[in-house]
Amino acid sequence: MMNSIPIDWIWGLVGGLLIGTGGAVYLLANGRIMGASGILGGLVDRTGWDTWKERVVFLLGVFLLPIPLYPLYREVDTHVTGNWAVLIAAGLLVGIGTRFANGCTSGHGVCGISRFSLRGIVATVFYIIAGGVAVIIFRHLLGIV
C-alpha cells in the first residue's frame, strides 16, 4: 500500500499557492514583478528609490505575516547553521549573485517560469545546479553544513 502524501508536501503546495497569489496581486494591482532580490536590491543600491514606500511596505508584509501564523506550524525552527563564516559567505554570494542575475527564486523562479521566460528558466537551472554542487561539497565532502 502507498503511504498517504506527506503533510509537508501539502503545506508546501498551500504555501506555494499563497506565494503565487501574492505575486498575482503585486502584478495585477501594482503592475510590479514580485522578486524579493529586486525589491531589496533597489532599496540598497537606490536604483528603486522612487518607489521606496511600496518596497518597504511589501517587505514589512513579508516580515510581519508569519508572526500571527506561528501557532499553525509544527515547529518554528529554521535549523540554520550557527557558523557565522558560512552565513556571511552565503549572504554575500546570495546578495551579489541575485543582483548580477537580476532575480532570485521568486523573480526568476516563480514570476519568470510562469510566463515561460527563457531568462527565468536558465537562471533557475543554474542556481539549482550550483546549490546542489554546494551541498555536495560542503555537506558530503567537507561536512560543514
Binding site: V14, V25, A29, N30, G61, T78, F126
Partner: protein
C-alpha cells in the same frame, strides 16, 4: 495609498506562504538540493503551487493596465548573458550553503534568531557592492 495597501497584501501573502510551506526551514531547502542524500521534494510542491496563480495572472496582462494605474513592467529581452549565468551560479552556491534565499531570509527574521540577521546583513552588503563589482568585471572581461 491603494498602491501601498496592495503591496502590503502581496508581501503578507508572500511571507505567509513562505512560512507555511516550510521554505524558511533551511534543512528543507538543503534537502531539496541534496539529490545524493535524503532528498526532500517539498520545494517542488511550493514552486508548482506558486506558479499556478502566477500563470493565470500573466493571462490578464496583455491589453490591460494595472489596477492602481500606470503600466505593466517592460519585460527584458529573452537574452541569456554573462551576468545572468554568473549571477545565478553565485546565488545558487550561497543558497545551498545556508539554505536561504532573499524572500525566506526576510520572512524568517522574526523567529530565525541572530544567524538570520547575520545572513541578512551580509546579503544586503553583497547587494550594495554589486554595482561596483559589475564595473570592475566589465573592465576586466567586457560583456559582449
Amino acid at each position: 495609498m491603494q498602491r501601498l495597501f496592495y503591496a502590503f497584501v502581496a508581501g503578507g501573502l508572500f511571507g505567509a506562504g513562505l512560512f507555511v510551506s516550510g521554505m524558511t526551514d533551511t534543512t528543507k531547502v538543503q534537502g531539496w538540493l541534496d539529490v545524493f542524500g535524503d532528498w526532500d521534494p517539498t520545494l517542488a510542491f511550493v514552486m508548482g503551487g506558486a506558479i499556478i496563480p502566477m500563470f493565470i495572472a500573466w493571462r490578464f496582462v496583455p491589453g490591460r493596465k494595472p489596477l492602481v494605474g500606470g503600466d505593466f513592467p517592460k519585460l527584458p529581452r529573452p537574452e541569456v548573458n554573462r551576468d545572468l549565468v554568473l549571477g545565478s551560479t553565485l546565488f545558487g552556491f550561497g543558497w545551498g550553503l545556508a539554505g536561504l534565499c532573499p524572500g525566506p531570509s526576510v520572512a524568517s527574521l522574526s523567529y530565525g534568531g541572530v544567524g538570520h540577521w547575520v545572513f541578512f546583513a551580509a546579503m544586503m552588503a553583497g547587494m550594495a557592492i554589486t554595482p561596483a563589482l559589475r564595473v570592475s568585471l566589465d573592465r576586466a572581461v567586457p560583456a559582449e
